[in-house]
């Protein structure tokens, strides 16, 4: 440590130079009596450093208290608005949830495994990155686009598939019928699918779900790559399975959510309510199993085949279905910053009042800019308008 450093890094010395009070002045007066040899150098350094004195702006004496009163008023307002915040969040709760995150090679394994759903899907499925709208692939080889803005498909009525506003009459007795349909959801979209047993599935962006068009066998099963939220009709006689490459989720209770994206190294399940069982694939007797209780997450490591259980907030894993991720007391400006970066757009705020508005809740960019905007509009009572290429005004 150099001499200079010894002085500069000494908080007392710095205080003596820049913000001297009587105490520190006194200290150095005493110090120099003891160490007169240091005085000249230290005083010189002090005087030199003092040229770094900053020019300060003064403020009115009443300013601090005025600002504090405003802060108090803000706090009171905030506390009283908490009730409505809680109400907003409670609307977003769901009955039962399980999330699965699935790693690579699902379709390779799935089709190689001799399942009857056929290779015909696979090529189309690989095109998911180039797809704009979600598409439903029927077992007879035909396909149909699932139109927005609702993106809904229903198998609830026998021999009928409702896709958006259209109804497709289906004759399942055709000989070439492989018995399984597939829903492929393009990036930035989300499709709600009602299965023949009236169970509901929200299939997330970039996901594929293969399912029987009737659930007449002993078990109900679907095959998932990507993410899906399942609201399963309870039927103890006919258990419901969500299958993935390495493990399956068996629904014991009522409802759950499954998410399975190929990129991930682990497969995860998160349960909100009810009961599900995680089972390792193809190991009937030796495979690992785990039963989840609400607010637990099971992570299945595909390398080690270990299942780890952790306590989690289910909402963080399941609220994507509403197009939401967790936002904790962030200002609209913060939130807009994130939206701007993600969608590579520019948002101007016209209404100064709203800019500081704090929101808590959930937001998901996967659903697409329009949906994100709609959600923000709903939450804030504001409005987005396009004012130029990739430029939007919020007021």
């Amino acid at each position: 440590m150099t001499k200079l450093e010894r002085y500069i890094e000494d908080k007392r010395f710095v205080k003596w130079v820049f913000l001297p009070d009587t105490e520190v002045k006194h200290y150095y007066a005493k110090y120099f009596r003891k160490h007169p040899e240091e005085k000249e150098e230290m005083v010189k350094l002090r005087d030199q450093l003092r040229c770094l004195e900053f020019s300060n702006k003064s403020y009115a004496t009443e300013l601090p208290e005025n600002i504090f009163r405003k802060i108090q008023a803000d706090i009171i307002e905030l506390e009283s608005s908490k009730k409505s915040q809680i109400r907003i969040l409670s609307v977003l709760k769901y009955a039962a949830i399980a999330v699965l995150l699935l790693s690579t090679g699902f379709f390779a394994n799935f089709f190689a495994g001799g399942n009857s759903s056929g290779h015909q899907f696979s090529e189309d499925l690989l095109l998911i990155g180039t797809m704009v709208e979600p598409r439903l692939y029927l077992s007879d080889g035909s396909s149909v686009i699932v139109p927005g803005p609702d993106y809904e498909v229903s198998y609830a009525q026998a021999n009928k598939i409702i896709v958006g506003h259209d109804t497709i009459e289906v004759n399942r007795l055709k000989k070439n019928d492989r018995g399984k349909d597939a829903l492929v959801v393009s990036y930035g979209r989300k499709v709600k699918l009602v299965l023949p047993d009236h169970s509901e599935v929200w299939v997330n962006s970039g996901s594929r779900l293969i399912f029987s068009h009737n659930f007449e066998s002993k078990i109900r099963e679907v095959f998932l790559s990507g993410e899906g939220y399942f609201d399963v009709e309870k039927n103890p006689e006919q258990p419901f399975y969500v299958r993935t490459t390495a493990m399956a989720v068996k629904v014991l209770g009522t409802e759950f959510n499954v998410s399975a994206y190929p990129e991930n190294e682990t497969i995860e399940a998160v349960l909100e309510k009810g009961s599900v069982q995680i089972e390792e694939n193809d190991r009937m007797w030796f495979g690992k199993k785990a039963v989840l209780v609400p607010n637990q997450r099971a992570s299945f490591d595909k390398q080690t085949h270990e299942i780890k259980i952790a306590e989690v907030e289910h909402e963080n894993y399941t609220l994507w279905k509403e197009g939401l991720v967790t936002i904790d007391d962030e200002t609209l400006d913060d939130v807009f910053g994130k939206i701007e970066r993600y969608f590579n757009i520019d948002i101007k705020i016209a209404d100064r009042e709203k800019i500081d508005m704090q929101i808590s809740g959930k937001l998901d960019f996967n659903v697409g800019r329009e949906r994100v905007f709609e959600y923000i509009e709903k939450l804030t009572d504001g409005k987005f308008t396009e004012i130029g290429p990739a430029k939007y005004k919020f007021e």
Partner: protein
């Protein structure tokens, strides 16, 4: 300082008096720093208001051993920059034009009038005016606040080593420019400045 921790814990528990004590204890320091980051009074005052509201709402998330001074200074800077950015309606990087920038973190000595004795402090003033706003801010954070180099580096977005090196580089350079005139002359200049 020993009952400061007590105050902090009370505040975390929601005690308004403790909150007010913290506010009073830091107002001056925050105002001094903030007024160097922006010339807009309304932005500064709104930012202080927002900062303490945030402090209050996030109090339960704050660590007990947080260096409050660092936390508040950093948060104030972020809040001010955010507000300026919003106000300007421009993308984060462009905070202010150069004219605006040069009016921030002014040294007292620079406020001297044109006719100030140029013989003695010319070189020094030149050296000082050669410092960019970030270097000035660095010196300010170092000498007017009790922050570690790590904390200073964090606020300025540079690494701690570089923060420390820069402080010494600037001081050595200034010391060099002191040569050639006496303390008396320097004090004369300072007095002159104070009068004006």
């Amino acid at each position: 300082m020993k009952d400061w921790r007590q105050t902090w814990l009370k505040f975390k528990g929601g005690d308004m008096d403790a909150f007010h004590r913290i506010y009073v204890a830091y107002f001056d320091k925050l105002y001094a720093y903030g007024s160097k980051l922006t010339n807009e009074h309304s932005v500064l005052e709104d930012s202080i208001q927002e900062l303490f509201l945030q402090l209050y709402t996030r109090r339960s998330h704050l660590r007990e051993d947080v260096n409050l001074e660092y936390y508040l200074l950093k948060s104030l800077k972020l809040t001010i920059y955010q507000r300026l950015r919003r106000k300007e309606r421009i993308i984060p990087s462009g905070l202010a034009n150069e004219d605006h920038e040069s009016s921030l973190f002014k040294f007292k000595i620079e406020n001297a009038d044109e006719q100030t004795d140029k013989e003695g402090n010319d070189e020094l003033l030149q050296a000082l005016s050669g410092l960019d706003p970030k270097q000035r801010e660095l010196l300010y954070l170092k000498f007017y606040n009790s922050l570690s180099y790590k904390e200073i580096g964090d606020i300025l977005g540079i690494n701690p080593d570089s923060a420390k090196k820069q402080v010494y580089r600037i001081i050595k350079k200034l010391k060099h420019n002191f040569r050639g005139f006496s303390i008396e002359l320097f004090l004369y200049v300072v007095q002159h400045v104070k009068k004006s």
